[in-house]
Symmetry: C2
Subunit: 524 residues, 2 copies
């Protein structure tokens, strides 16, 4: 396949720009031809092979190189698709929305610029992974904990900018972001918050600085390329006790969520805990074929077999207690007494799970910020190894939880997939993340998934549920559901986009935001 | 005095615009002539009587009226200065940076649109004061607590948008903001976050929505007029215990702050606690003349007299414990043992202060979110009733605290004022707020204060300390200290300003951001 060109860019202009990039970074950091394949979507859904294909990739090693690349792109109109590490495989990996874009691969910029134990923060470049930061902290013996999402190889910065979540009390990653540096489309470098004061001493300590608080406009956007970011880290809490509570019936989710809401609001549940469905937990440490050879969603009897075998429930609440025993004992009493009202609820600390320690031990690590990749064991559940997340936000009420569960699971099962989901507990809402595992080698299955996904987006929106994040293939569709008052917010985004990036070279189509010359065409 | 005209606006154009405004809101809600005086800075510093003077004020009652006003202003180029309630007297009240602006007084838009007990939030219009919201919650018997700053008459929305702080665990008001609606300079209405989804059910539950998180650009800015805002409210914690710890020596502040930092980071100190200087606490319930008739800053012997009389220290740490006794007892043990290391530290619960209950009782109310105006008793300290806040942000270290205290207090005393300050404890930084009380009727004292303030800004910036908020007279000066990389951040603000408000009608000069046609002149 010849490398696609972006609209309006001639082969000559592209060649000249790539030559320019090559001079900036050196030939070995310019990727074309077969080498671009590693930047393709690892789990593509669309069967149209021309979509989401980068033309090339360029990997700078410094902010100055990023500035030069941006200036060169601006001169020729070649669009860039910046990725921190491009490891967010369920959402498109490193692949661009607009075919022909050049991936700006920031993974070489992987310096941990500072880890401050006294104040609990790190200042990192885009290429720093959770593994990197964790290893650094361990090697220095610092009394700080990370908060990690499931992919430990992901970028600390990229995850926060994409509004990712983890499992400790610091689970809302963007809330823990403090101060950043970005290269704008004109090549200028800005620092936000206190970073705008020369010689300041609080860039990673105070978010707001003076004047408009702008950090958020660099998240899930294409308004600039973030090159440094501060992230707050939790001090070692001086005690840790992970636990798991299993519930036997599908419909228990309603009561579970009603119990969760006030406990989370009161900070009795201290962390970004999760309520995980049977198949999601089962799939991490087993495969479907161990339990059944039937096609289609698993039956009730198979579900029961899995529950018994793995000592898990139809829903599994995984949380943790943080702090000295005087505090955590008091919290646990409240938690246990609250959930004990649900018939069949079973309570486990790690020592109670001698027969099947795996599930809780796995979560015990992530809930204390140890990066891993274990979660992706679920890819082996059904074979074929593709997966995608459908992630609507919901109020933390039992009625919404069961409604969401029924809406999504019935559609997923109708389409022939197993329902495998979790409800991640935010402060006042839950992210209902349904992981759909599919056979990426099957064109038929991909087409079925595509249809299902669009149906899920539309049906959720009709009930007032919106997605917080998505795969590159659905950015337009989801942005289109945030259309209040004749798309007023998107129009404002476009106004800012046109002002900051008039030639539209930064990540065209990201989050549904297109530059002026590509608007209307869209990718939806 | 004739009403000033803004640059570039003729008397005729202004008259026509005011007539247009009058038709929109009705004659009774259009204020000109003497009626504009209530919008002047109540504590002016500059002796130049032409500065910071509104031409008129207009008070709409609905979003639609705001849209119409904005469109009319855009047509004629008349600048608007939006205020929520305009009660932030230490920072300029309702007065505009640019003389001749028309104050857009939003205080009539004072509906409490929703208070949700289950999820702990309110959705309010700009005119809703802390008193209003508190009364509403009490009248309905809702188990929710507010977080209030000292001026209880202030706007809940305005305070959050100005990055104001309070005293409970919800003390960072902008962090607790969730979802807003704003009228842009073109008259369009946008809703942010989940508010952009028609029929959504999580506008006040989840901050980020999909795509760029833009709420912050409406804070401390002139990019839009916020007409609705969500704010998270704390559920009744089920227990409350305010306390006060007094320290005898000036230099104790160093050790106090070193103890505070890890306790706050670990959430052992649960709230936005404050460390308050002798005169600040003394001034609330007494006057200077009760203790001395000497001119200039108080002497050491007078300080001792005040300490003994009022049962306070040179520094007074006011905090509170929130939650059931099992939790708060455990926290208190750690707090007490930590501070007991400082010689002369005295510990008080309210019941321990029978002789002088006033100071702690006052703070006990604000630390549990009861709005008041008691704090402003300090205005009577020296007579003449003006005050201003100098508010640099500092790392939470003992070394910074004592350095800040020495820098600021020595300059303040050199200029002939008493040092009266507090250190408000954020998550990782402290706001060192020095309240300078001055005689607003004395031109000489005002000139002295102006010189002092500019010196404080410059000297703080030279050491890397920046202000988080300021009086209208110093917005340019302070914005000028955030000048990293040739004012890159300000240039970005200006680019966004020009895109969203090309005619520059919204709050010219706010936070140092001027529209294109007024740039360079400045007010510094």
């Amino acid at each position: 396949m010849t490398a696609p060109l972006p609209p309006g860019v001639s082969a000559e202009a592209m060649a000249g720009t790539l030559e320019h990039f090559r001079r900036i970074v050196g030939a070995e950091w310019m990727f074309t031809g077969e080498k671009v394949e590693s930047y393709h979507d690892p789990y593509p859904i669309a069967n149209d092979d021309t979509r989401f294909k980068a033309h090339a990739a360029v990997a700078p090693s410094s902010v100055e190189q990023v500035q030069e690349i941006v200036k060169a792109a601006n001169a020729s109109g070649v669009p860039l698709w910046p990725v921190s590490r491009g490891k967010n495989f369920a959402y498109g990996g490193a692949a661009p929305v607009l075919s022909g874009s050049v991936v700006l691969d920031m993974s070489r910029m992987n310096r941990i610029l500072e880890v401050n134990e006294k104040f609990g923060y790190a200042l990192v470049e885009p290429g720093v992974s959770y593994f990197d930061l964790y290893d650094y902290i361990q090697s220095k013996g610092l009394k700080l904990w990370l908060d990690v999402p499931d992919p430990g190889w992901g970028s600390v910065m990229g995850n926060a900018l994409d509004h990712g979540v983890g499992y400790t009390p610091y689970g809302d990653h963007f809330m823990m972001q403090c101060g950043l540096e970005a290269v704008l489309a004109n090549g200028e470098v800005v620092r936000t918050g206190m970073g705008a004061m020369p010689g300041n001493n609080t860039w990673q300590l105070f978010k707001y600085g003076f004047g408009p608080y702008v950090d958020g406009i660099f998240s899930q956007s294409n308004f600039g390329i973030v090159t440094k970011m501060g992230i707050w880290l939790m001090p070692d809490p001086g005690g840790y006790r992970p636990y798991m509570i299993t519930f036997e019936r599908e419909e228990d989710i309603e009561q579970v969520v009603e119990i969760v809401r006030p406990l989370r609001l009161a900070n009795v549940i201290q962390n970004a805990a999760t309520i995980r469905s049977l198949v999601l937990d089962a799939a991490i440490f087993s495969t479907r074929s161990q339990y059944t050879s039937e096609k289609g969603p698993i039956s009730a009897s198979v579900a029961r077999k899995i529950m018994d075998d793995q000592q898990i429930g139809m829903w599994n609440f995984c949380g943790a207690l943080y702090g000295p025993p005087a505090i955590t004992d008091a919290l646990w009493t409240v938690i246990r007494d609250s959930f004990a009202k649900i018939p069949g609820a079973k309570f486990y600390f790690p020592e109670d799970r001698k027969r099947r320690p795996d599930t809780l031990i796995h979560r015990a690590d992530t809930m204390r910020g140890i990066p891993k990749l274990t979660e992706f064991g679920f890819l082996n559940w059904a074979g074929g190894g593709g997966h995608i997340g459908f992630s609507p936000v919901s109020p933390t009420t039992g009625a919404d939880a069961i409604k969401q569960y029924r809406m999504v699971s019935s559609r997923v099962r109708e389409a022939g997939f197993d329902y495998s989901g979790l409800m991640a507990i935010g402060f006042r809402e839950l992210h209902h993340v349904t992981v759909i595992v599919y056979d990426k080698t099957s064109a038929e299955e991909r087409a079925r998934l595509d249809k299902l996904f669009r149906q899920l987006v539309a049906e959720a929106a009709a009930e007032g549920y919106g997605e917080y994040r998505t795969h590159i293939a659905y950015m337009d569709a989801i942005a289109g559901t945030y259309r209040w008052n004749d798309n007023a917010l998107m129009k404002m985004h476009q106004t800012i986009k046109d002002a900051l990036d008039p030639k539209g070279i930064l990540a065209p189509g990201k989050s549904g935001i297109w530059p002026k010359h590509l608007r209307g065409g869209g990718n939806a």
